[in-house]
């Protein structure tokens, strides 16, 4: 049996699924307005009240995405694992070097190709994640301006609304194309990954995948397993040293976000243990 390494907990997979569904619906319902006469929009325009429902669904998904973003921020702030993710996501010089060297490898400038060992989140993932945060911020701000035009236009001239509309459209184009070009290459069309990375469903990466994409992290996990983390046999098998002791901290009384996340974490733990035998 190939050894598996936890990549996404159930909670994270749910966040990803949530975002994927909302993002897709936002793309469809959004471009259905910009290209309302295009052939693929006809299922919407032919339906009674189609365009009205389209607008409603677009705003609904927008709000859902904003809430998901808020939830994600809380997740990053109030869970051990989340804080670790946030720390590991900070881009550094190493990422720029990785990007550069990968390009040199790809173009056969480095002969022989340099073996690159990349951290938990490699430069591709960091770029995409930061892009996602940027995009969500831009789309949220401009989207709310477009939605609450009456309020916005009390204080600002009309052209600012037009600017918001333009940004909302072009940022949408940028985001959609980025997902198609960058994300879908990373998780689908990359010859090492094809037909698909299963991490978004199973939550795991194989050892081979870890070697290819996160060599540095793999080394770290192995070192931890050998050394400091001897006592955590169960964690070492499945969590690769990234198990958070969150649920142990949530013993405090009364309702609190920590407590709530503790419950979520325990739930994740249960699922994870069940998967990782």
């Amino acid at each position: 049996m190939t050894k598996k390494y936890l990549r996404m907990t159930l909670n994270e997979r749910m966040q990803h699924l949530n975002l994927a569904v909302n993002f897709t619906l936002l793309v469809i319902t959004g471009f259905a307005l910009s290209y309302s006469t295009a052939f693929w929009v006809s299922p919407i325009t032919d339906a009674p009240l189609g365009m009205t429902l389209r607008g409603f669904l677009h705003r609904l998904c927008g709000v859902a995405t904003v809430f998901l973003g808020g939830y994600h921020l809380l997740y990053l702030a109030f869970t051990e694992r989340g804080r670790r993710i946030a720390m590991d996501m900070i881009p550094g010089l190493k990422d720029a070097q990785d990007l550069w060297e990968t390009l040199r490898n790809n173009l056969f400038i480095n002969r022989p190709a340099k073996a690159l060992r990349m951290p938990r989140f490699n430069f591709r993932e960091k770029l995409e994640y930061l892009g996602l945060i940027w995009g969500t911020l831009v789309m949220t701000v401009t989207g709310f301006i477009l939605w609450f035009k009456t309020e916005w236009l009390m204080y600002f001239p009309m052209w600012t609304w037009d600017v918001a509309r333009t940004i909302h459209f072009y940022e949408a184009v940028l985001a959609t194309l980025t997902i198609i070009v960058w994300h879908f290459y990373s998780v689908v069309f990359n010859p090492d990954i094809y037909p698909m990375s299963w991490a978004w469903i199973t939550g795991d990466l194989t050892e081979h995948e870890m070697e290819e994409e996160h060599g540095m992290e793999l080394e770290k996990i192995k070192a931890e397993q050998k050394g400091e983390l001897k006592g955590f046999a169960q964690a070492a098998v499945v969590g690769g040293g990234r198990v958070y002791p969150g649920h142990q901290q949530s013993e405090e009384k009364g309702p609190s976000i920590r407590r709530f996340y503790g419950i979520v974490q325990s739930f994740n733990e249960t699922i994870k243990n069940w998967k990782g035998t």
Binding site: S36, G50, N106, L107, T150, M154, T160
Partner: protein, 421 residues
């Protein structure tokens, strides 16, 4: 005395002759007036003659049909004034002078008719132009109020269409290729049963489209429609379109430009050009996005273009009828230029106009350029900003997506090449 006696004899002969003639005349008169003499022959359904072209023409006249008609009490000779003599009755050989002069009694109608198009066409020698009897019938004339009458409201359509729905006739007389009947019977007027051809075209004095006195002449159309729709005509006449049309601008719209004519449909009918789903797609843009008109009158086509690119226009084109169309802001029959204080788009009224759909629209809401077209060379500051944002974003998108695509392509190429070994 002799001459006197002789003279008396002469007078006696003359007097006797006259009285005999008078008696004979009276007798024939009686015979003519109860029409029995005529019907003696003309009741025969097989009575025929050959006309100048050798075509067989039936000379049958139905006696009960005639008796029931409005003219039933008249004598044949009241109308057929030229066929009094016996020769016609005896030999039946003398060609009857078929000219029946209705004007003897119907002087006013004749006068009107002579000014109308049909009479003019007859004078020009057109064979199939309508004479009195073409529309009113011959021996079976009923008053228009009678539902059996050819000129009753319910029958007029059929009467006119004897010629005007005949494709050959329509083609020969250059009345276009369209047959009005087909459009009209599907129209809201045709379905109502109360409006018929003559309601708009007139009857005896029906005139040509190019006759300035015609009810369907361009600048008379608002009045013609106004006979039934007076309020709308009043509104329209005050509008910018109405004012220009009244001055003879043939490019300015009148009722029919937007509503159509024979095929006018109710507003709710999706085929109607003034249906809310079509008004901003075909009806207003037929002029306001037309190159010839925009060039000629220096009206800009940018409102249509900018509307299509706006939220309102995009959503509208997707079939959203809650989204504003041209009429939502500009009005319908009472469209006025923004300079007019009564106009819906006059500065002072804009807040209210926007507020129709956007409750709570502030004063600031309606300020700014409405039909803005984003362009870095635009006149308006906002247009310029939006234009620049667009340019920057397009450059950004091309660079970012281009870069990412290039990077991935090298990655894919490398991995594919590596796999071969």
């Amino acid at each position: 005395m002799k001459p006197r006696r002789e003279g008396g004899k002469t007078w006696t002969i003359i007097g006797g002759g006259v009285s005999i003639l008078l008696i004979l005349g009276w007798m024939t008169g009686v015979a003519w007036s109860d029409n029995s003499l005529c019907f003696g022959c003309h009741q025969d359904e097989s009575l025929k003659k050959q006309d100048a072209r050798g075509k067989s023409v039936s000379l049958f006249v139905s006696e009960p049909g005639f008796k029931n008609s409005i003219h039933g009490k008249l004598s044949c000779s009241d109308c057929h004034t030229h066929i009094k003599d016996d020769k016609h009755a005896e030999g039946g050989r003398k060609a009857a002078d078929k000219r029946v002069d209705c004007a003897t009694c119907h002087e006013k109608a004749e006068k009107e008719y002579l000014q109308g198009l049909h009479s003019k066409m007859i004078m020009k020698g057109t064979e199939r132009a309508a004479n009195c009897y073409d529309c009113h019938g011959k021996h079976n004339i009923f008053p228009s109020k009678n539902s059996k009458s050819m000129t009753n409201v319910s029958n007029i359509e059929k009467t006119c269409n004897r010629c005007h729905a005949d494709a050959v006739f329509v083609k020969e007389h250059a009345l276009g290729t369209a047959i009005p009947q087909e459009e009209f019977k599907k129209s809201v007027h045709g379905k109502s049963g109360e409006v018929t051809c003559t309601s708009c075209h007139g009857s005896h004095n029906l005139r040509s489209l190019i006759d300035p006195k015609s009810a369907i002449f361009r600048s008379n159309i608002p009045q013609t429609c106004g006979t039934c729709h007076p309020d709308i005509t009043k509104e329209f006449i005050g509008s910018v379109h109405g004012a220009l049309a009244a001055r003879g601008r043939t490019d300015s719209p009148t009722c029919t430009t937007c509503h159509g004519f024979h095929g006018i449909k109710a507003k709710l009918d999706p085929d109607s050009p003034v249906n809310e789903k079509r008004i901003a797609l075909t009806t207003c843009p037929q002029c306001h996005a037309a190159e010839r008109i925009s060039k000629e009158y220096k009206i800009t086509t940018s409102p249509v273009k900018s509307y299509y690119d706006s939220f309102h226009g995009l959503s509208y084109r997707g079939g959203d009828t809650y989204s504003a169309n041209c009429a939502s802001c500009h009005g319908v029959h009472d469209i006025l230029p923004s300079s007019d204080p009564k106009s819906m788009i006059h500065k002072a009224n804009l807040q209210k106009t926007c507020g129709n759909c956007h409750p709570g629209a502030s004063e600031n809401f309606a300020k700014g350029r409405m039909h803005a077209i984003a362009s870095i060379t635009g006149e308006d500051f906002g247009e310029k900003v939006v234009g620049w944002v667009r340019v920057v974003y397009i450059i950004l998108i091309v660079m970012v997506i281009g870069g990412l695509t290039f990077y991935n392509f090298t990655d894919w190429l490398r991995k594919t090449i590596d796999r071969r070994h």
